[in-house]
Symmetry: D2
Subunit: 391 residues, 4 copies
């Protein structure tokens, strides 16, 4: 049996929380039936923390682990590269990857500021490689189904939007002062770290935000213990020393959408009891729709007049093969079996791989990241100035 499959050789830069999810995505990409003609070779994990890189390589089946980005980029056999680095490294590393000519799949938010994002987007535009961005929540079947239903006009014209991301990763004041709490390194607290997803999700469902009408940022926990070296994600051993938190724990954005709707997007990383809930709720002239990732195996759609009033009400729709991505990521795809957040990474890497194979641009591209970052940028200005700011 000759292998006629297209081979795509992949590397992941950054072996932390997001990097591991990418590794999982590459490993499972070909489970989609339409990708059986592709062979994804799991080549390299790159992280200066080589122990971490090695362990991630072993756990996710990558051939090797290295510490040096440049060496890896110099390897001509590598076709695609994921970048999952702390935000302050995006502007430093992404240009190199773009320059290498390899296809790039970069974690959100793409830099820390509208300027950084714009600069990177300009570079990406000039590349002929696929340039994708990790707006992973869009790959949840329930959120994608809501976006599709809204686009299909099921709820009429959208007039009111509520987006949110509640997380509790920062609710404990004893949590380590990682790069996420440093405005310089991160570009933003909740407003960007989780706001990136919630803003993108709101735009995905309700169309582009055209104006930030108001933004409020609050830091509730002002000091935290400094981490010992080597932590990843939200977990790190702490030291006795404390340092200041220089970005927001809570952000509330009021926004006007280009389509005429108005709404709020609320971001909190200190939402005790709500560990991870990204949601979008939209009301339109004929109904409403709601998705909440914390019960992501379902979403809700109301359509006025769809049934006699005595038996009409919001429908609780269970995710199923009728929805985007489901069949491609659920090894036993059936209505109601449920998919997890890991599967969102499989779906996005599948989409990235399809674009690479077919040589076409990706839906979640640098322009999408720039658009999202412009909303964050407008929010930060609005928060500072106390006036509306166009996006």
């Amino acid at each position: 049996m000759t292998d006629t499959r297209t081979t795509i050789r992949a590397a992941v830069i950054g072996a932390g929380m997001a990097g591991q999810a990418h590794a999982f995505g590459y490993r499972n990409a070909t489970m989609a039936a339409d990708l059986a003609d592709v062979r994804v070779v799991l080549d390299t994990i790159v992280d200066p923390n080589l122990d971490l890189a090695s362990s991630v390589a072993a756990r996710y089946g990558f051939e090797k682990a290295v510490a040096d980005i440049d060496a890896m980029l110099a390897d001509p056999t590598i076709d695609v590269v994921s970048v999952a680095l702390p935000n302050h490294l995006h502007a430093q590393v992404l240009p190199k990857v773009i320059a290498s000519g390899k296809h790039l799949f970069a974690e959100k938010p793409i830099g820390r500021t509208p300027d950084e994002a714009a600069g990177l987007a300009r570079l990406a535009e000039r590349s002929s490689a696929v340039m994708g961005v990790g707006f992973s929540f869009r790959r949840l079947p329930g959120l994608a189904a809501v976006a599709r239903a809204v686009a299909d006009g099921v709820i009429g014209d959208v007039h009111t939007v509520r987006g949110w991301y509640y997380a509790d990763y920062a609710a404990d004041p004893q949590g380590a002062l990682s790069w996420r709490y440093d405005q310089e390194l991160s570009g933003g607290g909740a407003v960007l770290d989780i706001g990136a997803h919630a803003i993108d999700a709101a735009q995905f469902v309700a169309g582009p935000v055209e104006r930030v009408l108001d933004a409020q940022l609050r830091t509730v926990i002002t000091d935290r213990p400094r981490p010992a070296a080597g932590g990843i994600g939200h977990h790190a051993a702490v030291t006795d020393e404390t340092g200041p938190v220089t970005n927001d724990d809570v952000a509330i954005i009021t926004a006007a959408f280009a389509g005429g709707a108005v709404g709020t997007i609320t971001l909190s990383r200190i939402a005790h009891g709500m560990p991870n809930s990204l949601g979008v709720e939209v009301f339109g002239t004929r109904g409403h729709a709601l998705f909440d990732s914390i019960a992501g195996g379902q979403f809700h759609v109301f359509e006025v007049g769809a049934a006699p009033a005595a038996v009409n009400g919001p429908r609780r729709v269970f995710t199923s093969p009728a929805h985007p991505y489901f069949t491609d990521v659920a090894p036993m795809p059936g209505g109601g079996v449920g998919t997890g957040y890991g599967e969102a990474f499989v779906a996005e890497i599948q989409e990235f791989v399809r674009c690479v194979r077919d040589n076409r641009p990706m839906d979640t591209d640098f322009a999408a990241a720039e658009s999202m970052m412009n909303v964050v940028g407008a929010a930060l200005s609005a928060a500072r100035r106390g006036t509306p700011v166009p996006v």
Copy 2:
């Protein structure tokens, strides 16, 4: 058996949607065990629509129905008066009732503007009678329980607030253009009609709003058919003629609370599929709490550390005799049996009657109404000016 009970003779002005609920409240007030020493005499229903007044009197057991407010007020045997009139009549009628020396229980919002509310509040302050206001949602056991839990420190210091009132009474563009859609007659659309309740509820749980940071008002359905005469509440026959809607269908307020919290209050009267949902969600330094009237027989409380992490999570608390008002309004009071919105009117009239009996001021007084109206006033200014406005 000599009747040693205190007699309280009651009249209700306005026999519409709210007036009927007051009538129900008076009729059932004495079911509270501690009010068995009071005899509430259901005396008069006053409404220019005498047919309506008569039918309401018959249905709720009032002795008579009259059309003339002044004549009723001149009757010295009447002790207490409820006023449930369209907003533009508050400033006209409430002073007369106050002048009569009778105890007054007035429907929210108390006038249409901060000025009207302030004027009325000044009059009320000078009265030695009880001056209560109908913030009926506060009497829902679940909302009152949340307010109590927050006051008791169960969730720590509140930093983030979300209040809302979603209703669909105006979602149908063919609904009649009643006084509610006229800025002049109403003082506000969703922002005041249902906002009064949601703002009061948010303040009840999270303390006073000190500054409106931003407010957005939108009119989505700009014209409606004019009503034929005689409709009440949200229902009226319509004519062929249409007229303009001059107030808001949707309002979004961002607010700073005196206690340091920040939050949003979203009001919509066109929320398809959410017929009547008033809610408050608060996050604090030790937990969160949530109440939503659409499932008002329960509320949710999360307390960090209250149980080992593997079995901790938001608690779904069913309303029960452990909560305010429950035992007084549920004829068969048991955990989980549920009480409805009608019972909120029983509870508020009970509280009013207690204050009358005991000659003490009421918790929901004109100052509370003025405070709420000042938030609405600040919201309307903020919406006009596009800048923050102190309350």
Copy 3:
């Protein structure tokens, strides 16, 4: 104004938990618009515990309280009588009321055994007065709406049924040994006390049970402290002495329905954390429906093919004026405002009063009670014998 209304003079026998709910029902009966032509006079509360009777009379506006049933029955001015006595008194008191010729509204279950129920039903059949029974759960708008939707064929032919009543009133082993725990006085533990409602509800929605296929009864808490005198409902002071529980805490019935369906009915009075949840869930050839009283302001209906698969799912229907009873018992009737369990008593007394006014039989009559009791009787036999028992 001459009063042209029909006068109905009412007495309630038994001033305990259920008697108070009846009192509430009579007091509010005429709030239904179609009952404005009736004047319900709240005449007498009868209870040997005269203090209790007096207090209940005062609280619910009845003219007098007496201890003696016979004297009250001898009063020819009294038109209608409710009986809300412990089960062992039904067979003793109901015949007297029937003999008096007065209209009778009797609390479930109507005696303690199929024989007692049958005897009482035969007496009732011979009366020309209205003979109603208090299957109060049927008056919850949500349950009634489910029954109506099923009857209308919305879910096709029902094949599978689940009924339940979970309560926790007996979950605390220190709760007093009232008449409810005595097989002789009660006729049954959970199987009858709450089973009466759940079985009636299941039959209301899914049609008559034709055969008990299996029944399991369990007593988990075998001894309880004896009560001090004077407790009502589930609450009584306890003594140091304990006594045996002689009926079931938990009962599980498997039943065949005449329409071809099969199902279970589970009853527990020791369901920690589920204070009061009566439910019915039915699956049919075209959908399913579910009602749970613990969130009684909503119910769920699924209809296959009612919407494209990608947006179809169980509908969460909020109770509203579109549903039975709602408008008659909610003083401010609007979708989603919610009604409580108290309102179920208003609705059933309204229906009783209508039947009295119109001189027609009631839907929840002694035959319904007999049918329910026959299911319990069959369940008790099946439990004893370990074989199926026809109803």
Copy 4:
């Protein structure tokens, strides 16, 4: 870098619905940190439908696809074998695999009857290889967490159990007559196909069933179109010819548990609107617990006295790293991110691989399968005879 990892070479027999899930499991097994010392080689997919086998091999990264089981078994390099074949082939194929000396992971139910299961269990006992069975639902973090909480005594002694599996895969009467509808090929309809999981789950949480007290089996859809060749899982093209369904669509089992509890287990494959919901609800002397796979990212625990009554209620616990399997299968493990059903296969293969590496028996072994099958066997007898049957 010398690879010091233990190599485990895997084959999967059966490339249908379950076989693909196993393939996914093997592919991701080593993502658990404690399995980084193992190298799982994805060797062979075996299915007579060679096109299917090839496509599954390609999609899940297996080196080859073959049609012949015996040839594969003869290959000494293969260490572990999964069997995911229709039930009637278990008794035929499993003995061969056992005889091969390879480690075996077999899909439930292990044969079609207690006799077949016992025969296979006896064979397995005699093997020194690891002999595991695919009770995949046990690997859902939420169900495992409930089992652990119950075992830890959080809810006291369990007295009442409800288990269920509602699915809708057979709700459409036009669905193809696959092996699942043939009593001879399947060994049982809902009672075994999904009952296997629900019974195992109930035993997992509440301990062994000791007696089937009653069982009811019903076939609602008696004829179905015969499939065209080649379908897998629940999907196949159909022909014009119909054939009889010879097993149950709905099964209701009443059971006594060895620990003293009583309960029901309800199985339906025709539950319109409930595509896939496996659940267990248990009430004990100190609380209750509930898991429902359709919202599998959460479960519910109530503990009496765990908080003051005014704020106590069932806790909605979101699955997180505090729960079994979570960290091992979620590439980005955080509270509330959610895992899907696919991850259950990863977790079970991980556990299988651990047992192989460590040379120890698996928790879900042939004895567990035999125990489950004995409950089904007792249920089928009880259904036939109409009397209780010991397990």
